[in-house]
Symmetry: C2
Subunit: 277 residues, 2 copies
C-alpha cells in the first residue's frame, strides 16, 4: 500500500532543504543593482498583490470553470512575483519571503490599480483587463532588458499574461454584449478602475537612471491604448472620461485597501517567523 512515491518522499530531502533560490538563481547571474532591485520590486509587488486579490475568488466565482481560470491566473502571477522579488532581494541579501511578508505598507511599490477591491465580478474583470493589457506590453518590451534576469522573467511571463489578457477581453465582450444589467455593471466597473490607469504609464527618476534595463512606462501607452480601443469598439463601449488619480504607489504611498490586504497576507509569517515556529 505504501507505494514508491511515498518511499521516495521519505528518502528524499525534506521540504526544509528545498530552497527556491536554487531554482531561481541561474549560475553566475549577477545580483541586481540598487536601482534594478527597486524596479523589480515595482513589478513584483504588482504581481504579488494582484495574485492575492484573485486568490479570494477560488470557489467563489460565478462558475466553476471561472474559478479554475482565475486561480490559474493567480498562480501565474505568484510565479512572476517570486522571481521578481527574488531578484530584488539579490541586491541586499533578502529572500523573496522577507520581501513579501516583512515589509510594511510604505515599502510596497505596487500601483494602486492592483489594490482596488475585487468588488463584484465585473470590477474584477475591469481591473484584469487593464492590468493584463499593460503587462503584455510591459513584458514584451522587457525581454530586451540588459538585466539578464529581468529579460528571462519577461520572456516567461509574456506568454502567460497573453492568456490573462485574452481571458479578460473575452469577459469584457461577454458582459458588454450580455444583458442591460451586465453592461451597466461593466461600464460602472470600468469607470471605477480608469482613474488608476494613468499611474501605470508614468516615468520618474528611477526609470531615467535605468535606461536599457527598465522599460520606460510612457512608451507602453500607445500599445495599451490601441488594444483598449479595439476592444471597446468591438464592445461598443467608450473610454471612461475620468480624472487620473494622483496614485503614488511606486513611491510607497498607498490607500487603505493595501493595509487590509497586507494584514491578511502577512499575519501568519509574522506571527511565526520561519514558519517552523
Amino acid at each position: 500500500m505504501i507505494d514508491d512515491s511515498l518511499d521516495a518522499a521519505h528518502g528524499a530531502v525534506s521540504v526544509a532543504e528545498l530552497h527556491l533560490s536554487d531554482e531561481l538563481t541561474a549560475a553566475g547571474a549577477p545580483p541586481a543593482s540598487a536601482d534594478a532591485a527597486e524596479y523589480a520590486l515595482r513589478l513584483g509587488d504588482d504581481a504579488l498583490i494582484l495574485a492575492q486579490q484573485l486568490g479570494a475568488w477560488i470557489s467563489r466565482a460565478p462558475e466553476l470553470e471561472e474559478d479554475v481560470a482565475l486561480a490559474n491566473i493567480a498562480l501565474d502571477l505568484l510565479g512572476h512575483a517570486r522571481s521578481l522579488l527574488h531578484h530584488a532581494g539579490s541586491f541586499d541579501g533578502r529572500s523573496e519571503d522577507d520581501l513579501a511578508y516583512f515589509r510594511d505598507e510604505h515599502e510596497f511599490r505596487c500601483a494602486w490599480i492592483v489594490e482596488q477591491p475585487n468588488g463584484d465580478f465585473a470590477q474584477t474583470i475591469a481591473r484584469q483587463f487593464v492590468v493584463a493589457t499593460y503587462m503584455v506590453e510591459l513584458y514584451e518590451a522587457l525581454r530586451r532588458s540588459d538585466d539578464a534576469t529581468l529579460a528571462a522573467v519577461a520572456g516567461k511571463a509574456r506568454k502567460e499574461v497573453d492568456y490573462h489578457r485574452d481571458h479578460a477581453v473575452q469577459w469584457v465582450l461577454r458582459l458588454a454584449g450580455g444583458t442591460d444589467e451586465s453592461r451597466r455593471r461593466l461600464i460602472r466597473a470600468l469607470d471605477d478602475v480608469w482613474p488608476y490607469v494613468d499611474e501605470l504609464f508614468r516615468d520618474d527618476d528611477l526609470i531615467d537612471r535605468l535606461e536599457g534595463t527598465a522599460v520606460r512606462p510612457s512608451s507602453l501607452r500607445d500599445g495599451f491604448d490601441a488594444v483598449v480601443s479595439t476592444v471597446f469598439t468591438e464592445a461598443s463601449l467608450t473610454a471612461p472620461e475620468v480624472a487620473a488619480s494622483a496614485a503614488g504607489g511606486r513611491h510607497g504611498s498607498h490607500a487603505a485597501p493595501l493595509g487590509r490586504i497586507l494584514a491578511e497576507m502577512q499575519v501568519l509569517a509574522r506571527r511565526y517567523p520561519g514558519a517552523t515556529w
Copy 2:
C-alpha cells in the same frame, strides 16, 4: 501592438459559448444512475469544499513557495470536483454549477473533515495529510469501477493526489522534527482532526447497492493505516487516541463550519444567477 492572440480572441467563440460539458462528456458516456450520482456527489463535494478551504491560503502561507503548492493542490481538487459534479448532474440534468452553487447545506455530501477550519498552518497540514492519504487509496481502487466516467476521473486524480500526499507527508516530517513549538502544534492539530478520520471509512446502504461501481470505504482503511503508521514512526509520533465523531456528512448532516463556507462560496452565483446579470 495588437497581436495574433488578441485577434484570435476576437474572432473566436466567446466565453459564453464554451461549455465544460463539451470537454467532460466523452462521446457516448452514459449518464450516472441515481445511486452513482449520489456517490459522485460525496466524492465531488469532498474535493470542492477542500479546494475552497485551501484557496484561502493564496498569498497567506508562511512561504511563497508554499502558496504556490497549496494553490496548485486547490486547483487539482477543483478539477476533480468539476468532473465528479458534472457526472452527478448527468443523472437529472443539472450542471456542475447548479450543484456547486444552488444546493443548500443539507444537500451537500462532503465528509466533516474537509469542513474543519484551516486553523494555523499545522492544522491545514494535518487535514491535508489525512484527506490526501485517504484519496490516494480511494482513487487507486476507483480506477476499477464499472462506471466508466468514475474510473476515468480516478485514473487522472490518482496521479495528482499522490503529489498531495507527498506534500503533506513532507510537512508532517518537517513540523514533527522542527522545534518544540512546531512539534507541539502538529500534535495538537492531529488531535483536532483525528475524530473525523472514521467517517471517511464508513460503509452504508448506498455503498452496498453500488457493488462494483463504488469503492467500499471500509476496504481502504488498512491501506490508510499502513501509510499513517509509516509516517508516524518516522516522525516519532503516536496515533491520537480520540473518540470518533458521529459526523454524518454523507447524509447531509453538517456542523456550523459548512454553512459559513457555503455562504462565501455561493453568494455571487446566487445573487446573479448565470453571472450574466
